[in-house]
Symmetry: C2
Subunit: 328 residues, 2 copies
């Protein structure tokens, strides 16, 4: 088990207060947004999530010599971009549970869930605008990229893609908000273009390491605990990294069989076992772990090239290793 | 038949070009947004709609001495706020037709329609930001108000409201974008706070006149042409202005019957006839027309209090009368 990184705790209380403040809206949609973020019933903070992205904004802002308070509206805005995407994602995927609680659409219906997500997007950008036009523009750019990534991911339901195309989607769907977090921090500290460019590449590496690790967990779960693959992503026929790699590496015959399995309405237990077996024969798990390791290493090297104090670098490295090693 | 007001034609070509430019996105979502706005298949402009709101922005900007070109990004942004709301509205209401063509969700599915609306909202605000932070803030405020109005309107499915509560919803759902159009024009011309306040009230009056007229058409259609009520809003059990007024004016007995009719799954032909008969006995149509007339008159008086040139006032009055007299 990883130890919870210091960055996540340092700003938690301040972010929580700012989120609560931004959501003090006396309408039903306000109530829905507070529930979604985790403030319902007096606000049990356990359902608030890690608040990872806003914490990154504030950490980078402060670490590069800026004022974290000035970056707070942008940090809150970024959490709301993430939050609105989750409300709409759950509608799109008909996922009924979010962070262990009923998803918004299951409690208030699809139409109100669409409204709630729309409102949260607008509040997000309004927060960004409070931090200045450059922060608002960065939030909008990240929002647009994330939506394009979500759209690409949907289109993968209809076809197999290679790992390069898959990672291109990940850079948008997952990477855009990490890059935006780092950029918003850099903007608040008036970082040079050179530093902003390094932060951008750091965001790409974090996004890829985070997502590939998540995808590996989607097949092998927390193997050390359960002792066997959970394969939930295979049962859901999700075209994540392992299956993209498998498709690329398989023989013509196996590839045809893989396509047949994924073309069906449901994947039976035998087929799941066959797919996992194929992945293991092809060394997909090891290759995935090696990819995570490469992106983590590149990220750690980039941290050394960013003008942070020594203990700030250590904290950021802890966070990167934590994100690449999450259990499910 | 009303003559098409000059304001709608004056800026049409320039707005069309700016919309096309803002939507030159080489992804599937770009294709969806161009289709929705009316640019698909080379762009038959007949499906573009009236472009009423952006035309109002540019007209007010120019009429008050500002530069309409500088206001163009904000005008385009406002059309996109309207456009994104229509994509999501059609998903929410499961309406299959928009401007005589299949709605986005019927062609690309609900998940991509949600993405397309989300993207259009972000593009809208990015356009606003090009015109300056004040324009972006005005667009965001209007977006939030419109969404709250949409949410209120949904909640009316569960209950009857009086005309005051109904008009409060209309001020948000319909009025917010008219007020925003006038405000964006005023901001581009650096109008005084006094003028901005008058423009704001003018937007309220236009929104109410427009919506009540629309609601009357939802029951009586274009009575002069068809000779009998179309009553489409009654068949759809829409809680629009006429039924709010009917509920308020009816005897206890009729009110109970009205509630019974609207509580059912479908409204049969006999029930429709009964509701229309009740409305006519209670003078609802005449009272609705009188309300439209009052808001139109207040709007015309406000136009005289805004520092426009004489022929500009005439053009704006023509537009207001046109909006309050539309046929279906």
């Amino acid at each position: 088990m990883s130890v919870r990184p210091a960055i996540l705790d340092r700003y938690y209380g301040a972010i929580e207060a700012a989120l609560r403040d931004a959501l003090s809206i006396e309408t039903q949609l306000g109530e829905i947004l507070r529930y979604h973020i985790g403030f319902a019933d007096g606000g049990a903070p356990s359902s608030l999530g890690k608040l990872l992205r806003p914490a990154l904004v504030l950490f980078i802002a402060e670490g590069l010599g800026g004022d974290p308070d000035a970056a707070m509206p942008a940090a809150v805005g970024l959490e709301f971009v993430h939050g609105f995407s989750l409300i709409h994602d759950d509608v799109q995927d008909r996922d009924e549970v979010r962070r262990g609680r009923p998803a918004v659409w299951t409690k208030w219906g699809v139409p109100q869930a669409i409204n709630a997500g729309d409102l949260m997007q607008a509040i997000a950008v309004r927060q960004g605008l409070e931090a200045g036009p450059a922060s608002a523009a960065a939030l909008l750019a990240a929002t647009m990229e994330m939506i394009e990534g979500q759209s690409l991911d949907l289109s993968f339901e209809e076809r197999f893609v290679d790992t390069e195309a898959y990672l291109g989607m990940v850079d948008k769907k997952t990477g855009a908000l990490f890059r935006c977090a780092l950029r918003l921090g850099g903007l608040a500290a008036e970082a040079s273009d050179e530093v902003l460019d390094r932060l951008d590449r750091l965001g790409v590496c974090i996004g890829r390491a985070f997502q590939i690790q998540d995808d590996l967990l989607g097949v092998w779960g927390d193997g050390d605990v359960l002792g066997k693959p959970t394969a939930s992503d295979i049962r859901r026929r999700k075209k994540a990294f392992p299956v993209a790699l498998t498709h690329a590496r398989a023989t013509t015959e196996d590839r045809a069989e893989l396509e047949r399995v994924y073309a069906g309405d449901a994947v039976g237990a035998d087929a799941v076992e066959w797919v996992v077996g194929l992945m293991e024969r092809l060394g997909v798990r090891g290759e995935g772990e090696a990819a995570v390791g490469r992106y983590v290493q590149e990220a750690l090297d980039l941290v050394d090239a960013i003008p942070l104090a020594e203990d700030g670098r250590d904290d950021l490295k802890d966070l990167i290793r934590f994100l690449a090693r999450r259990e499910k």
